[in-house]
Symmetry: C2
Subunit: 186 residues, 2 copies
């Protein structure tokens, strides 16, 4: 039976999760779909686009409805949501990071962050959202890259490198910086 774009993205994510980004080739995805490599180009114009769709799917799978409560708790919850979603797939953070350079994947979460920071001056909200996003993405990415590098034996594993504790500490630092920029309530 014929495959849909959805099938392609889903199977591509499976290949990514089991083999890692390095071996997530178009040819492997095609093989996993029991199809010739050229068949993929009916669904997608190139690999870059497929990676972007995968990034969207990774983030979509973790999506929860925004909580209410103080802005900092909202932001913290969203950051954990994004982090968990990326860590749920092997090399997921790396895929989201590269896709976000094309304005895809990470753009939507950043908009949600900006909305949560609407009590701030607009410039501060925009800068804050981007800084938080860079931290969340970079932190998860560093963790997964270190995992992969140490699995290959290229380096000795350091459990502190992408730990939840260091994530909360770093995020706390940025949130604390934001609090200092909070305009006084009228």
């Amino acid at each position: 039976m014929a495959n849909s774009l959805q099938d392609v993205v889903r199977v591509a994510l499976q290949v990514l999760d089991t083999h890692g980004l390095e071996f997530a080739s178009m040819r492997r995805v095609a093989a996993a779909l029991d199809v010739q490599p050229s068949a993929l180009y009916h669904h997608v114009p190139n690999k870059q686009t497929l990676l972007a769709l995968m990034a969207d799917e990774i983030l979509a799978r973790g999506r929860r409805t925004d909580p209410n409560g103080p802005w900092d708790e909202q932001v913290s919850a969203l950051c954990h949501e994004i982090r968990d979603a990326m860590l749920a797939v092997r090399d997921g953070a790396e895929v989201v990071a590269t896709a976000s350079a094309f304005g895809l994947g990470a753009g939507e979460p950043e908009q949600r962050l900006i909305r949560m920071l609407s009590d701030f001056e607009h410039d501060v909200a925009v800068t804050g959202a981007r800084t938080i996003m860079l931290f969340v993405l970079g932190h998860a990415s560093a963790r997964q890259m270190h995992e992969q590098a140490s699995a290959t034996g290229a380096i000795t594993y350091d459990p502190s490198i992408g730990s939840p504790e260091s994530f909360d500490l770093g995020l706390g630092l940025v949130l604390s910086g934001l609090r200092a920029a909070l305009p006084v309530r009228v």
Copy 2:
């Protein structure tokens, strides 16, 4: 005449700067050295290692002696030094970012940052240095990736994306967060 490892790294950086990371292949570096591809493996065990050496060289070229003055001015100066060094070479930030996952390249600057934060509790200094490093690296990386993506025509160019202004604002946010954690002087 025979090439040294230094020559290889230097020419590899030239290839990177003129063609971009995507086309910085071992074969192209070999061609630029007027040598067979296999000859590179006399100097370097694999491409990953060559990239790590390139990352070190990128950062070394921007290295200045640490200034004295208040800690936040020292940190800010160092961050600009690292950023400028990475931006001086096409896709330089991306190369440093991937190399840093292997404990190379970005490790030394991070140690310098920790030293500048020695007035803080050790945990705070370590977290602060890493968070700052993630920001500087991620910010420069996002800028260069966006430049490359928009040059390919895949996306419309947005000059605000890796601007010096947004860099200073984001860095200021993190520094402000650190100030809140500063222990009171005795």
